[in-house]
């Protein structure tokens, strides 16, 4: 007598999440994870939202009379002048948080589990960067919305405001990619956090808070060579100068070029890591 074993087909629980099979779906899942991580740990992201606003509130009261000194561009208030610096400051600090999370994934082995899974490799990086971009866009819009009732006037109008958000988003991608390169290469969240003072120094040695035309000596030279000066000034043109092709190209093209370079570097670092393992 023979016995035939009849088995039912495996039953899939109805609430089980659907496996992401396409590259886009996998990348989207990684982006969602990056955004959720920020949402669930507000203490990590709140400083990058609050500190730029604190500095701008401080500056608007402290430097209100400085806008009349020779060399200062024609602005209605220091608030208009300082918005771009606040956006760049917030995005720079927010990007460190995102890259630190990536380095933590490397440290605790989750990154290797992702690499071992049948998911798209670039999606692991691109997904996280997309999360950073979403946060950069949110930060830029948040700063504008919060400051509008206090007298902020964007000369570029609604299109200028949208261009600012796009610029903040691209900048978040660029800085996030560069910091992610560091995270992948070092695999150390401490090393990524260590870059924070460097970013802080780079920000202060730029025209983020005062125009280059009012600086002198070696400090003016440093600000002239600092790319952050040009990033800030591109965004600032949209706020205090209005919507021009020159302003748009500086606000969008410069961070876009940096983003292309940064993403290429990050993917190269990922490939190197894969080849080494």
């Amino acid at each position: 007598m023979t016995t035939t074993l009849v088995t039912d087909p495996p039953r899939v629980p109805p609430d089980r999440p659907v496996l992401h099979t396409s590259n886009i779906a996998q990348t989207w899942a990684m982006s969602k994870r990056a955004i959720l991580a920020m949402w669930r740990q507000p203490s990590l992201v709140i400083p990058s939202m609050v500190f730029p606003l604190f500095f701008i509130a401080l500056g608007t009261s402290a430097f209100s009379r400085a806008i009349n000194v020779p060399g200062f561009p024609e602005v209605d208030s220091y608030l208009d002048f300082a918005l771009a610096g606040a956006v760049v400051q917030g995005v720079l600090f927010g990007s460190v948080t995102g890259a630190t999370a990536l380095a933590t994934d490397v440290e605790n082995g989750f990154f290797d589990r992702l690499l071992a899974s049948p998911s798209t490799r670039p999606g692991i990086i691109v997904g996280r960067l997309a999360g950073g971009m979403a946060y950069g866009a949110f930060q830029t819009a948040f700063f504008m919305v919060v400051l509008l009732p206090f007298g902020l006037e964007i000369k570029g109008g609604p299109v200028g405001a949208v261009a600012l958000v796009a610029s903040g988003t691209l900048l978040a991608l660029a800085v996030g990619a560069i910091m992610s390169t560091m995270a992948i290469r070092t695999g150390s969240s401490e090393a990524v956090q260590g870059a924070f003072p460097l970013l802080f120094i780079a920000l202060f040695f730029s025209s983020a808070f005062f125009p280059r035309s009012t600086m002198s000596g070696f400090y003016a030279t440093l600000a002239d060579y600092n790319p952050i000066s040009y990033l800030v000034e591109g965004m600032r043109d949209l706020v205090i100068g209005g919507l021009t092709w020159w302003a748009l190209s500086r606000a969008i093209l410069l961070p876009a070029l940096l983003a292309v370079g940064g993403v290429a570097l990050a993917l190269r670092s990922l490939n190197k890591r894969l080849a080494a393992s």
Partner: protein, 273 residues
């Protein structure tokens, strides 16, 4: 039959049963604190490097504020160097609180509390260490400032209020740092220690004089005692050394230091609960 019972092993040296004086215990703890700089330089270097950076960055970035009509000095470094020194000295004091948290977390602080030294030495010892750190910070930042073009108006006398303000704010920072360390007993206190000092200093005459400010900051800075402390630190570098610029700052330092050190002592006593 007799059994030889070995006599207890005699100690190789006499047990020290003498209770050390508060001075001896404080000096010992201060020395331990200063030695900690060499053993863990990463904990002290930011307190040393950041004020130097701040003096350079602020005086360069905000150079144009000296062109505001009536600004009390034509050298931005003269305006921002005392701010950087106060920030560095304050953080030197706060660093003592961070060191106390490390000791509490590792359990070493329990051993210190069990030692037969006067309880007050657990406050005065680290305080002496913080004052030593403040002297280092003030000397370094002032040297860099002078190299960058800071000039005193009242000769060497200008240096005295700067050191006094630095030492005073280091004492206040120590009291605040230790008090929070004893209450939180973990690194959650670190952010609160740093943020309060940072905000307290910046909501004062830190960046511009009172008459230049407008709106809410003017109101806050006018009643903020840190404005008086900054005025004390700046005299001799911005204007002349005078009693009018001195007494308010000294009084603010004495009151804040006394309150924060009392806060620390209360926290230390509550550690036993």
């Amino acid at each position: 039959m007799s059994i030889d019972v070995p006599s207890p092993v005699a100690p190789t040296h006499e047990l020290n049963t003498v209770r050390p004086s508060i001075r001896a215990a404080s000096v010992g703890l201060a020395k331990r604190n200063i030695r900690g700089i060499r053993r863990l330089p990463s904990a002290f270097l930011p307190a040393l490097i950041m004020p130097v950076f701040q003096a350079i960055a602020f005086s360069g970035s905000f150079f144009a504020i000296t062109q505001i009509p009536g600004f009390p000095t034509d050298r931005s470094i003269n305006w921002f160097m005392p701010l950087a020194i106060l920030m560095g000295s304050g953080f030197a004091g706060i660093g003592i609180g961070l060191a106390a948290i490390r000791d509490i977390e590792t359990g070493f602080y329990d051993r210190l509390r069990l030692a037969p030294a006067p309880r007050s030495s657990l406050i005065t010892g680290p305080l002496l260490g913080a004052l030593g750190r403040s002297l280092v910070v003030t000397t370094l930042v002032m040297t860099v400032g002078i190299l960058l073009g800071a000039r005193w108006n009242d000769g060497v006398l200008s240096v005295v209020p700067l050191y006094v303000a630095g030492l005073g704010i280091a004492a206040a920072g120590t009291g605040w740092g230790l008090g929070l360390a004893f209450r939180f007993r973990d690194m959650r206190a670190a952010a609160l220690m740093q943020l309060t000092l940072f905000i307290g200093l910046f909501l004062s005459e830190a960046q511009t004089p009172l008459y230049v400010m407008e709106g809410w900051l003017h109101t806050v800075a006018r009643i903020n005692p840190f404005t008086n402390i900054l005025r004390l630190a700046r005299e001799g570098w911005v204007g002349e050394v005078s009693w009018d610029n001195t007494w308010g700052g000294v009084l603010a330092l004495v009151v804040i230091s006394a309150l924060t050190l009392w806060f620390a002592r209360r926290g230390l006593d509550k550690l036993d609960d």
